[in-house]
Amino acid sequence: MTTPLLQVEALNIALPVDGELRTVLHDVSFSLEPGRTVGLVGESGSGKSMTARAVARLLPPGARVRGRLEFDGASIVDLRGEALRRYRAGDVSMIFQDPRSAINPVRRIGDFLTEALRINGGMSSRAAGARAVELLAEVGIADGARRLRQYPHELSGGLLQRVMIAATLAVRPRLILADEPTTALDVSTQAEVMAILGRLRAEYGMAMLFITHDLDLAAAVCDETIVMYAGSVVEQHRGASLHEDPLHPYTAALAQARPDIDRATRRLPAIPGYPTTAYEVPPGCAFAPRCPHAVAACTTQEPQLVPIGDGHSRCIRAEELRGRMLTGPSTTEGVA
């Protein structure tokens, strides 16, 4: 087994909300090896971005962090000064959902792309310009020289996200933190961006933490997927069978609530109620109020993450429910 590049253990994060420190991440653990992709999926507010921001050392002010966060064997939380600067400018890069909000609108693409090369790489602006054109070519943008002279508003969302990936490549980080990088893109552009990320991962051995709310996309591109609910990891799943063989009732519920492109159903099996945050969860299992399989014991004991099948599940009934959580589709087409 390869030594992990990133190791997260019992990560707990509390943030100031209304003047009080409130838990938003609860005992999150996982590890990521070089060249591999781990997916984080879950609904809004489940703690996906918080996890990535903790790794990037980009937490909001006032955050309290407990637990272990290690990059290449060194504690991320303890990085200071030059070591922290090197970590943030060279070891990890973050790609955001909305490239437009992450780029200065009044500077040209060229200035944006060559900055890191000139400052961190010590290149002349001429050499940096030539390298920037090469980087754009790597992400499938052929007329790089022209693009360098353009402003962000002159580029579509898909092109701009490619520019952001090209900027990431300029420093060739060992870990990419991609927070819903394709959510704002068209489905065909999404495929292009995912193909570029996949190729770069294969060529340069970069590891990737890939955040998405799309279970199918996660299953297709990740070596392992982590499902989060209310600030906790509820399922950890190796391989691509996340939606066919869910190990936790929440994963099964998500997979079923999503409409199916191959058939319409009379009614979608919606999950009742709303997602909650870590500090609002009742005692026992956080998912119990919405879980179709809940029994009395679920509200009294807090389930632990236990090994099962291709991964882990935080459900006291995981073993007995395995393989029985998905009901067959009831098709309506052709009936009406």
């Binding site: 969302g157 065909s188 495929a191 297709a220 609530a257 999503r258």
Partner: protein, 283 residues
Amino acid sequence: MTTTGEVILRVEGLSKSFPGRGRGHDVLAVDGVEFELAAGGSLGIVGESGSGKTTTARMLIGLERPTTGRILIEGVDHTTPARTARQWRERGRRIQIVFQDPYTSLDRHQTIGSCLSEAVSVHVRGRAGEVSDRVEELAALVGLDDRQLRAVPRALSGGQRQRVAIARALAAEPRILILDEAVSALDVSIQAQILNLLADIRERTGISYLFISHDLAVIRQITDDTLVMRHGRVVEHGPTPRVLDEPQHAYTRLLRSSVPRPGWTPESALAALSGADPTEDDA
């Protein structure tokens, strides 16, 4: 599903061009779009961003004046925007719209209940009791409780605000409801609740939907027919199962193969692209 064969909306040769920026060429956002919507039917419009979906919707509800073409709703000409308040009200009873982000269209300081009362009063001239009865009825229809009616928009979740937007649009009892990416920003579990709600409302009231989305799985679930748009034009149009299972146009095939599913890889999706015309952005 529940259609009678009666056509409630007919769009003929609809185009819209916007003046280009600076010395640039005009942008032809919508280019000769034609379709019919059956009473009680549900028609999906899919296409990449910038393909003209929202501009088409804005012309249908009179927020934009078509450059050419004709819009007929229940046989009445809606091509040019309403000129009088009365005309605006009458049209509001035929067609309403719900956008992606309801937050921006709700008054921050107004409670949900008073927002709905206001929408109802435009159309119900009667005793105060009638208005509040109708508000209650709408709230029940979309699943909002008393506590939520007393709340301001900020205190509601995205899914709850989307219910408010739907209730407000339904206040006029329109024959047609346009939903422009109305479920796209919602969490999967909440999206399923809203899709079920929309199906119930259509079954109960016989309303017709024009459902704009880039999400093909959602389109499959909620529409009978689908229209695929690209660069302002309709490139394919047919029953939804046919369009998705046997796409005729290369662009529809590209969209279909781009959707992640078991066994899907980005590379397989892009392989389907070669041979199709290039999708390179025109930005």
